[in-house]
Symmetry: C2
Subunit: 138 residues, 2 copies
DNA sequence: TATAAGCTTAAAGTTAACTTTAATGTCAAT
DNA sequence: ATTGACATTAAAGTTAACTTTAAGCTTATA
């Protein structure tokens, strides 16, 4: 099939497919007489793989690393895959933690602001931010 | 004070301070005879404000927006600030949700992989990812 | 006095993951 | 035969928030 068809089947834009090829995420496509790239079902599979990994939060480079450590014949390098999954899992957990902190800080800040403003005080930005800063870091 | 001193006091690198000036986050600094930028305590405050807002996850552009809607004399635009805080709060909540989903997906995927591999099966990458994909989307 | 540290500018580089552009070639259908 | 859709390439553009570079002044210290 041609790149446009693959694009439709996979949901990945044609130019993105070419981009993936330059990045080594897809093997260099074989060409037919007119120079057009030619794909088969394996290509669809490969793109599905990439999509899936991306959904788990992996960067293209992560995906490339796993691919690089896996020989076509033997399949994936198990240790590498599990290791990457663990790294990503840790990353995700830390992100969640940081975001929960942010959520609290913003909520608290909002309350402070509203209270202050309801009292008719029109503090300058700096003072407000500073009081919030002090509140949080204490 | 000169830019280097401000950098030390605020914990923001000198070139970053100049960068903020070009972006309008800091007012154009007055210069002394030799052309060097000259700062005072207000500058320290302003940088603290920016740092604080950044910690809450606001982009420089967000910060600029609030600043733009606030006149120096009147202080901050209350509605604008509260609105921005609400937008960011929603953003944070959605991010947390998405990350929790990712956390689950990765954990499930790991278990699937380990089970499969322990059974001595050496599936190819595609099949694995696909089974995972199916598992998740069902 | 010489050297090092600090200041100035504008412009380009960085990272990620594409997207857009430009200029051109091929194919399918009417 | 012509129109429109699809293909090719390399290179530049996008976004965010800086960082680095280059090339050249100024100031402080030994």
């Amino acid at each position: 099939m041609k790149i446009g068809e693959l694009a439709k089947l996979s949901g990945v834009a044609a130019h993105t497919i070419r981009f993936y090829e330059t990045k080594g995420l897809l093997p260099k496509a074989s060409r037919n007489v007119n120079g057009y790239r030619h794909y088969n079902n394996e290509s669809v599979q490969r793109l599905a793989t990439i999509q899936c990994a991306k959904r788990l939060g992996f960067s293209l480079e992560d995906i490339l690393t796993v691919l690089a450590h896996s020989e076509p014949a033997k399949g994936l390098d198990h240790d590498k895959v599990l290791q990457q999954l663990d790294v990503r899992l840790l990353e995700v957990k830390q992100l969640i933690k940081a975001l929960l902190v942010q959520q609290n800080e913003i909520t608290l800040f909002k309350q402070q602001l509203q209270t202050t403003w309801q009292q008719g005080k029109c503090m300058q930005a700096d003072a407000l931010f500073d009081s919030n800063s002090a509140m949080i870091t204490e």
